[in-house]
């Protein structure tokens, strides 16, 4: 791992942290959803500050260079995140559907009641 890469990783991670915290301040992000990004940023900072961790883990996993280990880690984290987001989107879709049905149903009931009242 070159010093340049380590510096870039640290800077990018800190920028991510600042960005996430600003979004929380602006009430555009739920704390529960921000935890993932904070944890990822902290992991990247740790790996850049202590490259020994990457050296050790790449040796354990039989990966040639620590840099490859970092790439693998980031790809794995992103795939996991995409999967979790797919689940979340499915749930949201389901909930919007139920909400739309509920509103339509309530309006329909109201209309029937209104016409009944007019008839009387």
């Amino acid at each position: 791992m070159s010093t340049e890469l380590r510096i870039v990783l640290i800077v990018v991670s800190i920028l991510v942290l600042i960005y996430v915290l600003r979004k929380i301040r602006q009430s555009k992000l739920n704390i529960i959803d921000s935890i993932f990004w904070i944890v990822v940023a902290v992991i990247l900072i740790l790996l850049s500050v202590f490259p020994q961790i990457a050296f050790f883990l790449s040796a354990v996993l039989g990966i040639q260079t620590p840099l490859n280990f970092i790439f693998l880690l980031i790809i794995a984290i992103l795939i996991l995140k995409v999967f979790l987001m797919t689940i979340k989107i499915s749930q949201l879709q389901e909930k919007t559907k139920v909400l739309a049905q509920k509103i339509a149903y309530d309006e329909f009931e109201k209309k029937i009641e209104d016409t009944k009242e007019e008839d009387q």
Binding site: I24, S27, I31, I35, V98
Partner: protein, 229 residues
């Protein structure tokens, strides 16, 4: 003083009638409303059959969403105080007046604590509670013996913030946020029952992530949050 007791209920068909009857018997002076969090069992029908006041959410919002619904309802209908009361029979209604008395001493939030005068048991679950208590004290300077307790009485000022702000869920980091912004928090010793029916939301895995989230939120994120008005 107008007080609203709101009862979050998610699939509580076995216990909801007992809980409401008991609440009405012991605290007839307070208004109550059940907040049915999109239950898939007979909770809603039971409320209707018995003529209970019940707000039924069409979808499941989870603990935070229900907590906000209750506080929002209380705020919009001009209540001075609001308190959640478990739909599964864990809370005892006779403690509500004690919490109100404490509130009148000039607090904004009064929490029914299981461990104010009694010792916290030494098990895995309580270890989490200890860690949160520790960070709470560290960041706010206020002692909070039971940060995950469910009975939290709030006044109109806090109610409004919960009703209108994002990120004011029913969790310890919300109380840390309020206390850091000048709210006065007190605790009253209460006794809680074992749950009568249903299962706990907290499995081991969920507890772990809950703890992690709370620690990051209380220790780190709260420093950067904007103060409430």
């Amino acid at each position: 003083m107008k007080l609203l007791v709101f009862i979050p209920a998610y699939n509580e068909e076995k216990s909801i009638k007992k809980v409401v009857d008991n609440l009405v018997l012991k605290c007839p002076q307070y208004d109550y409303v059940i907040i049915n969090d999109g239950s898939t069992d007979r909770t809603e029908q039971i409320c209707e059959e018995n003529g209970f006041a019940c707000i039924s959410l069409p979808i499941n919002l989870g603990l935070d969403g229900v907590f906000q619904t209750g506080n929002k309802y209380a705020y919009l209908h001009g209540y001075d105080l609001a308190i959640p009361f478990d739909g599964d029979g864990q809370h005892n209604a006779e403690y509500i007046p004690l919490l109100v008395d404490k509130m009148n001493e000039g607090y904004d939030i009064v929490v029914g604590s299981r461990f104010l005068n009694e010792k916290k048991p030494n098990n895995l679950r309580m270890m989490g509670s200890r860690i949160i208590s520790f960070f709470f004290k560290l960041t706010t300077g206020v002692k909070f013996t039971d940060p995950t307790a469910g009975m939290r009485l709030v006044n109109r000022k806090i109610m409004r913030q919960i009703a209108q702000n994002q990120n004011c869920g029913a969790e310890p980091d919300t109380w840390a946020y309020f206390v850091k912004n000048g709210a006065r928090l007190a605790e009253v010793q209460v006794k809680m029952n074992e749950r009568a029916a249903g299962t706990s939301y907290f499995t081991l895995g969920r507890s772990f992530f809950f703890m992690l989230r709370m620690c990051i939120s209380i220790v780190f994120i709260q420093f950067f949050r904007k103060g409430g008005k």
